[in-house]
Subunit: 272 residues, 3 copies
């Protein structure tokens, strides 16, 4: 990655490929998010399939283009399916995204599941700062999961997660994306304060990263998914500031993204 301009062009190309290829994306996700995640993937150009039982996990992961695993409301069947599908994805070198929802000391069971899944080397790990700090904390830090970290500490900690994956994404008011290929951190801006008021937006973002991973490199895919969400959130908020209508407008904007909107509204920069 030599220049910001180059990265911007790659993001646009990734979006075009997503529309052309409509990759099949398997989502093992929670029952709160599953309908929304499927609709977001469809709106963005991908083809979702929520196969989450252990009896079909292997044969299905063998045919998909990418995999998203989200442990929001895990069941024992989903736990088994996640293990099988993650292992299959690794064996076949298919990209997969790990979204460790709620990772931390209070939710120990899912956190152990996530720890086990790390052995299958996710392509991308995404979460909010709290989840990512907790996940980092269990891998080399003695700080408690509730410690307040400043930005540079967050990045230092998150960079440790790169021992387990190709790319790390931290969602927040600004989003931060870290990778091996570059010492630089990529910041994505845009979005709106209303996105956290809709459930499952983070879950859908994880699935969208997986979809983009099917058509481009992990880093470009992760940036492209965050840009897709950031522009849609910004343009939807320009239309309406109430949560019900924002939710409709956000889906409209995810669907109607195009080259012109990407060129005009993409806000990414390298930091540190």
């Amino acid at each position: 990655m030599t220049s910001l301009f180059e990265l911007q062009q790659h993001v646009i190309t990734a979006w075009q490929r997503l529309q052309q290829q409509a990759p099949l994306v398997q989502c093992i996700t929670n029952h709160v998010a599953s309908q929304y995640v499927a609709n977001v993937l469809l709106a963005c150009g991908a083809s979702p399939a929520m196969i989450d039982n252990p009896f079909e996990a292997k044969s299905f992961t063998q045919v998909v283009a990418a995999l998203n695993i989200n442990m929001g409301t895990p069941t024992e069947a989903q736990q088994q399916a996640a293990q099988i599908s993650a292992q299959t994805a690794q064996e076949l070198q298919k990209p997969w995204v790990l979204d460790p929802v709620g990772y931390g000391a209070v939710l120990a069971w899912r956190s152990q599941l996530v720890d086990q899944l790390l052995q299958y080397r996710p392509t991308v790990i995404r979460g909010n700062a709290s989840e990512m700090n907790a996940l980092t904390g269990s891998y080399g830090s003695s700080k408690g999961v509730d410690s307040t970290l400043n930005s540079s500490e967050v990045f230092t900690q998150a960079s440790r997660l790169l021992a387990h994956c190709e790319c790390v994404a931290i969602s927040g008011e600004s989003d931060y994306i870290l990778t091996h290929n570059s010492p630089q951190i990529i910041e994505v801006n845009g979005g709106s304060a209303l996105q956290p008021k809709m459930t499952a937006t983070g879950c859908a973002l994880g699935a969208l990263i997986a979809a983009y991973c099917a058509v481009t490199s992990p880093l470009i895919a992760t940036v492209a998914a965050h840009v897709h969400f950031a522009i849609a959130g910004q343009l939807a908020f320009a239309k309406t500031q109430s949560i019900g209508s924002f939710s409709v407008a956000f889906m409209d904007e995810l669907f109607s993204l195009n080259r012109e909107k990407l060129e005009q509204h993409m806000s990414i920069r390298f930091i540190n």
Copy 2:
């Protein structure tokens, strides 16, 4: 069924009865679709209840007017509930609809569940062409599930499914409905290209067929449900072409269907 006009009148009468009777419809469906299916049934005039555990399946099927079974994200508990409810429906001669989501070689577990459910003789089997071909393929055809069939081959194959049910419906750009009573195939037109961009529309259509089966014959019910969706899709698309707002408009149109819209927009014909 002697004339197209007669069939159109039956569809209008079926819609009126659905509004008057608000039949209780049990849905054993997937976690992606369940909220949407319930909302579609409510909007169309039926009364949904998503009872899908094996401990209550028998007693509940005994009191419902119709049953919809959809194996989109099956669990072992749902598998047991589906067997019990399908058997109960058959014993009590209650109509039930089978929606073999994802049927095919890649998803063998659910496909076996579907095969087992066929013994309880669903009233209607519905799916897209790919699912119906796969289902047919396992019952009398040596062709692989991925074979590309021309239209007449699709109909020849689908007609074999009539050995297992009263009525077969194949969804697509145009919908096709086959039955025993007539050598003719009924084609339903309308809808919009945006419907496949919303998850669970097929699942909801299956449930709506079940609802209509509670108030009329299987053939009229199947045609009526497809007409209900086709008109709503067409009128919603006339209002908006973006997916978020289309989704809202589609629900509005499902809800506000009336005799005038049915008379003006119903597009059905006999083919072959």
Copy 3:
């Protein structure tokens, strides 16, 4: 509770506190409702978390501000989680709401689960008249669950439920709230005839009662949640009378409630 004016002021204060404190509310709820319940809680100012597995139920209930248990589509894992979380809530004197969806003779399994949960003394029990009558019927009445009761009989029966909880709420065209503290029944008016045409509105109301219980007394919380829904339903219906757009407008109104709307539209009175 000495005056209606005082109660109205308490409701306004409760709404303000909900916005300020954004209490964390655990919901063990059904797969039909979970996305909608989470979105309603977010729109109303609370912070939802749908933790419903038995392995995390105890540790999570220990950190939440309130708990909502809804047995709409129970699984065995949810059954175990519900027992653990209800017991934990009782031990720690945290408020919890029981929503006995579908309680009655036809759905015996869930009804037994609900019976077992009563030992942990829910703070509030809510449901429609049919569910509440059935629940009452199994505790001291020999009448069948399908008996038709007049209003005074409903209240007499429902008041028996107060042996098990602090507050009882019966939803309908008008809502009725009973408590120990007062011989009076509180009636809440407003809403719209379209609310029953959206699935999961009752489930979301139960979760919202739990959220309000985290910031005020059980009685005020129950009244405030019903008022919040009643005003939003009434104002949404004034904007649109079709179900898709009403659903969007209802979410907008839940989100944009404020002191002025509360003062202008709150409709509560004491009866009998």
